[in-house]
């Protein structure tokens, strides 16, 4: 094995170790802040998905694929779930 190849391999190895081990060397408070951000992002995604479902149901009603009665029940259920997500979001964001 030539020296250049050996040096390249060692440099790559060092870089991989540095990248992979970085989270283990991070500050604890920083990690906690990241956890909160992750939780909020997860709930935001859930909230937007729920709103999309509400819009879908409305489109189904308007194009005749949901009866008014079924839409009323589904819409209420989806809004109740959206409320739960909003509450959880407030809690996670500390509001």
């Amino acid at each position: 094995m030539d020296v250049v190849a050996l040096l390249v391999i060692l440099a790559v190895l060092g870089t991989v170790v540095a990248i992979v081990s970085a989270p283990l060397r991070a500050d604890r408070r920083e990690r906690e802040r990241d956890d909160t951000k992750d939780r909020v992002a997860e709930l935001e995604a859930r909230k937007e998905a729920k709103y999309r479902e509400i819009r879908d149901a409305e489109m189904d009603l308007r194009t005749g694929k949901l009866s008014a009665e079924d839409h009323r029940v589904l819409d209420r259920q989806l809004r109740a779930e959206a409320i739960d997500v909003l509450r959880a979001l407030d809690e996670a964001a500390g509001r």
């Binding site: 991989v16 990248i19 990241d34 992750d38 997860e42 879908d56 694929k65 009866s67 809004r79």
Partner: protein, 738 residues
Amino acid sequence: MATVGRALLILALATAAYGIVASIYGARSGRPEWVVSGRRSVYAVAALCTGAFAILEIAFLRSDFSFATVASHSSTTTPSFYKAAAPWSSQEGSLLLWLWLLSLWSSLVLFLTRRSLRRVAPYATAVLLGFAMFFASLLVFRETPFGVLAVVPADGAGLNPLLRHPSMMIHPPMLYSGYTLFAIPFAFAVGALVTRQVGAADWIRSTRRFALAAWFFLGVGILLGARWSYSELGWGGYWAWDPVENASLLPWLTGTALLHSIMLQEKRGMLKIWNVSLVLATGILSILGTFLVRSGILDSIHAFGASTLGVPFVILIGLMVSGSIGLVVWRREALRSDNRLDSLLSREAIFLANNLVLVAMAFVVFWGTFWPLIAEALTGTRRSLGPPWFDRYTVPLAIVLVLLSGIGPIIAWRRATAANARRNFLVPSVVALAVAAVLAAVGAGSRPLALAMFACGAFVVASVGQEFWRGVAVRRTMTGEAPLRALGSLVGRNRRRYGGYLVHVGMAVLFIGVAASTAFNDARDIRLDVGQTARVGGYEFRYVKPTSRISTNAAGSLEKISFGSVVEVRRDGRHVTTLRPERGYFPSRDQAALGALGRFFEGEATSEIGLQAGLRRDIWTAMTPDIRALLPIIQQGDEVFGAAAGKLPPAAEAAALGTALRGLVDRYVANPPPATFRIITSPLVTWIWLGAIIVFGGALIALWPGGDAPGRRVRARYAARVAEDVAAGREREPAVVA
């Protein structure tokens, strides 16, 4: 460079192993820093594989024959365009491509979900790294792409001529992208089962886009393969129920079922066991597809691998199957449906029927593909099932599938009422019946299955057209937008739904093309001398004159000899087109055994077809000249060159060979032997490719990320309405939840 490449693969293997341990330890001990470290291992594996793949690509592009893979799969005469694609014509390069794509897609999904699915993602990371470790192990211990030769040859063996086709540049990466992307829902399903999160819609929502991307890439790969078969293999068809074709179709079929049935889990909390089973089965079938291509266990025109990988793949597939069954049984309590089917006349029931048809098709394809192995195990004799067997079962199922794809978009959720049926089914049914009546009147009734497919296709186009029409009408009522703007905003605001509807239209168009081109084609093999005419499908084909040419590459080295023909096509005395099919002969490298001239006719031969494609009909020809008349001359030339071997300077020998070959091709033109022509006239073949373009266009619309400004405004409006509900008071809330 080979040393660095090998070292990168060893590092990738070690990093994957570390990442598995870190992810699982982090998840079980509740230490997120280890989970993040595990995720970063995936990024590192992707970077290492990118480096390894780049080294291999550079070796191919530079024709570095010290790499054994390059020497056996490329040559100085291989055009640069194909040198770039040559890595995946080899077993080891193909496995490296698989690993590289897996690592890239895994990195992307884990980056996008880094702030969500916090319980599921670590286990998914471990599973994805498990796949990476498996393939890295194969590349390190069994099939290294970085093996070097002790003696470097002056030239390589060259790329298989059959693979010298533009679609082969992207066909394997597309297929492998599909296979590797299907590993992602598989990994998240395992994570969801382990963490008991499988009932939640979050993991499905997060990985659905990747399942759709897998479906898209696999579909594009399958279509490119079909196109290659049609234009390169010289038999005139686009689908032969070949084991490797079938292997790619299997996960595509179950993936199609999955993309529909997950909507029931998202919307109604139904079919959880079915969905997770489909996810797992699709992941397993993707690995099986890779196994079939690379192992050569079943005879196939596409199987370019040798059977050295059978045992590790069988172990992996065995682990995946037993692990999947075990996990589903273990978590069966968490997989209970929230709702039941309200009516057999509902969208839920149609989705279920669509799933059953797709899985039945997958079962038929699986059974037919593996029958040779099953028969061998039972009787000791390997027997294959041909296209008629597959057609007997898949054609009726495909007709039902197309019909369901028309019913699905227009039937009501939960329970269809008579009013719903009248409102939504009247126009598509009338259109379908009218199309059937007109086509039956012009003679299509002689092929009842094809006629049924045309009617069902018309039903789909009409039902989806009606959906777009009504959607635009609703938007115009709500916003007062102009029709085109309303159409744009309708699709833009619900890309998944309307992209999916376009996919249905594309599939209908594609199946109409398949039905017409198989039921109403006219194919004949005819031996013609120059000047003779054959009549096929109402057209007259006249062999006008022979052609021949010697092709050289940019460096001036001889690449192939082509013997061709000029064929004039006429109908009712009127000129339609002129076709120029050819047969290309690529030289074998074994000059000592086959002779200086003979080696040109003992190596690979390919067909360059003559094709006149049109919206209504394709006219397709391929030719095989009878070169037996040239054999005495070839043998004579071989004897002369054999006697002169070593006595002439290389340059003089090359010049003499060039003169001899030119004499040979001139002789072919001066005294043309008869040729066997395969002539096919097929209606609507172009519809297959057009349908595929519509399908993939629709899939791209569905895949396209959201986040547009109008969407945000709508979300804000809904947020305000939901907030109003919150403020409305506690007494209303229990009723809402109930």
